[in-house]
Amino acid sequence: MNNPDTQWGEMQAQLRAAIDGLDEDAAVALAQAALAQGVTPLEFFRNVVEPVLTAIGDAFSRLEVFLPDLMRAGVVVKAVQTKALEPAIRASGGVSSSEGRVVIGTAQGDIHDIGKNMVALMLQVNGFTVTDLGTNVSTAAFIDVARRENADIIAMSSLLTTSLPFVKDVLARLDAAGERARFMVIAGGAPVTEAWSQAAGLNGFAEDAVEAVALCRGLMAKRREAAA
């Protein structure tokens, strides 16, 4: 590519315009055109998708953009991943571009979903493969789906103190099954504090969706280091 920085900047602007207009086709065409010019899927993700999503995420944390902007970003980036990047990776015999696999849901007894949805969306738009189990998810369902999806992380949301015991129950059941090391378990929500998460034995907790992305990235980095 000539003048790569300029070209990345132009592509970022085009992707941002596609997100603002909820134009999945334009975003997919942008990615396909870049791939046709020899850009690899990983280069496209790192230099185009990631900076745009980081900017949106930062603006959201300052409430300069709102949840609908995040939702549009989720839809458009998912289309780019599934219709352009993933097929290209498969065609080249490469590995998935996923940052990691996350199974997420609201703990049993709790039907609040807005915070959980935001975290799921932020993870998804930041390159994680997310399986969202919805609300009022049983302990067994978290573990069963995590096994089936071969998840790296189980992420639980709890807005109610009454649901916190179910978060602990996931850890207890994983311990009992000898699978505690297989899955990293994190939680978030109003009653989840750093002290509580440490006492419960979680791998981490996050105050909001932006922190959750950083937490998951950090956990995945450690996992990759350990595996290397």
Partner: protein
């Protein structure tokens, strides 16, 4: 009551258009954005209580159109429950415009209020939206119920039963619900107001738990209420609709609880105002609510006293006040806690804007709901006093006063002073505020008098 309406709603919930929830959300955000543009609804940071009847009417029209087009999403069936514009307007035309709350000499009539309405707002208080401990819950309730300007009491929630965590759907939920209802009854009796209306027992999260709170002798009575919730935005399910069925059957008061998220699906303040109007219509049409509890919630700070929140509440209140007869209650939610002067400034801004915009009052939900035992009767007294002092004000007056009050707390929204728990700001023997807490109350009242509010 509309005859045979609930079976019709269930029928539509089972036969309406199927849609995945994520698709409903996405369609909703898209339509809100279009309607905000189409109706020219604009936020003005320099005027948080706009005296703009035309814009209020446009917010109303946009909210009505949104509700008619989108309907309500039923999470139980993954279908949309829809109504025609004529059906919605016909239902609204039947609204009585008032509801009697409580019984005997303690009963009050809560009415639909207009914009700049000279009739006083009814005052609800209690630890709503904020958990209490088993130890201090009775005293917190008493501190609110004994305030002469408080008309109704919310029982709030206690998250343990004899020290054990209460899990939804377990026997402890039923026991906790019955206990909290009886503690609330005891609080109003001790306050010498045994007929006072109790609005909900919040510990229970299931219909079964809510139903367990009713007990004419020691729990809730038909003159009391249970909240029927909406899930943000414009969503319901069969558990919520089952509460409506039970409340109809025993003749109790039905309250529509909505918690629209500022910065959520509605986006910025104009879109949030539009979807909030639509939320009220859901409560009127699906829940046949006797009154509506509007608990606007900032996405990050979990309050509604920031500039965006104040503007949104004002526009929603005015839109509904000018175009319907429904009875609206605004839930003032602050980031500060008792023992922090900022709490009173936040409450003052909320009470001023929402009183002149047509709401009845509820408050205060403190600390963004994060710190238990941080509710006292003193902030309820303060809200009621500010609300009464606002009755002779125009929207322009309120906007000007709020402009002067905002600097007293705005900078602390991102780093709030959460104050102290109940037992550190009230004497737990006499159930009276400490001198320190009372001095802050008097100091803020003096500040408000200085800028022109005619407080008693």
């Amino acid at each position: 009551m509309r005859s045979n309406w609930l079976p019709e709603i269930v029928k539509r919930a089972q036969s309406g258009p199927y849609m995945k929830e994520a698709d409903f959300d996405l369609k909703l955000t898209k339509r809100i954005k279009e309607l905000v543009r189409e109706y020219g609804i604009r936020y003005d940071a320099n005027n948080l209580c706009p005296a703009d009847d035309d814009m209020a009417d446009r917010v109303w029209q946009a909210g009505l159109q949104l509700f008619v087009e989108m309907g309500s999403y039923c999470q139980s069936t993954e279908r949309c429950i829809r109504f025609t514009r004529d059906e919605v307007l016909e239902i609204l035309a039947q609204e009585p415009g008032a509801v009697t709350l409580g019984m005997g000499k303690d009963a009050v009539v809560m009415r639909h209020r207009g914009v700049e309405d000279p009739q006083r707002a009814i005052m609800h208080s209690g630890p709503t939206g904020l958990p209490s401990s088993e130890k201090y819950h009775p005293l917190i309730l008493l501190s609110c119920a004994q305030e002469p300007l408080v008309d109704c009491l919310g029982a709030g929630s206690v998250s343990t039963y004899h020290g054990e965590r209460i899990l939804p759907g377990t026997p402890l939920e039923v026991l906790g619900s019955r206990r909290d209802a009886s503690v609330a009854r005891e609080a109003i009796r001790m306050a010498g107001r045994p007929g006072m209306h109790i609005n909900d027992v919040a510990v229970s999260l299931t219909c079964a738990g809510k139903m367990a709170a009713f007990d004419t002798d020691a729990g809730l009575r038909p003159s009391d209420a249970i909240l029927v919730s909406q899930m943000v935005e414009l969503k319901t399910d069969f558990d919520q609709l089952s509460r409506v069925a039970h409340l109809y059957n025993i003749g109790a008061v039905r309250v529509d609880l909505m918690t629209p998220l500022l910065g959520g699906v509605g986006g910025a303040a104009p879109g949030t105002a539009v979807v909030s109007v639509a939320d009220h219509l859901l409560g009127a049409v699906l829940y046949d609510a006797d009154y509506h509890m509007f608990s606007l919630t900032h996405l990050h700070y979990v309050n509604n006293t920031d500039p965006l929140g104040l503007w949104t509440q004002s526009m929603v209140g005015q839109a509904l006040a000018r175009n319907t007869k429904i009875v609206c209650l605004n839930d003032i939610y602050v980031v500060s806690g008792p023992g922090a002067k900022e709490l009173f400034y936040e409450c003052a801004a909320g009470a001023l804007v929402t009183t002149v915009s047509g709401f009845n009052m509820q408050g205060a939900g403190t600390t963004g709901g994060f710190f238990p035992d941080r509710t006292t009767g003193l902030e309820a007294r303060f809200i009621a006093e500010v609300s009464r002092a606002s009755l002779n004000l125009t929207r322009q007056d309120a906007a000007q006063l709020v402009k002067e009050i905002l600097p007293c707390y705005q900078a602390t929204i991102t780093s709030p002073n959460r104050g102290k728990p109940f037992n550190e700001v009230y004497d737990v023997e006499t159930v009276q505020p400490t001198t320190e807490w009372l001095d802050m109350y008097h100091a803020v009242k003096e500040d408000l008098r200085r800028i022109g509010l005619k407080l008693a």
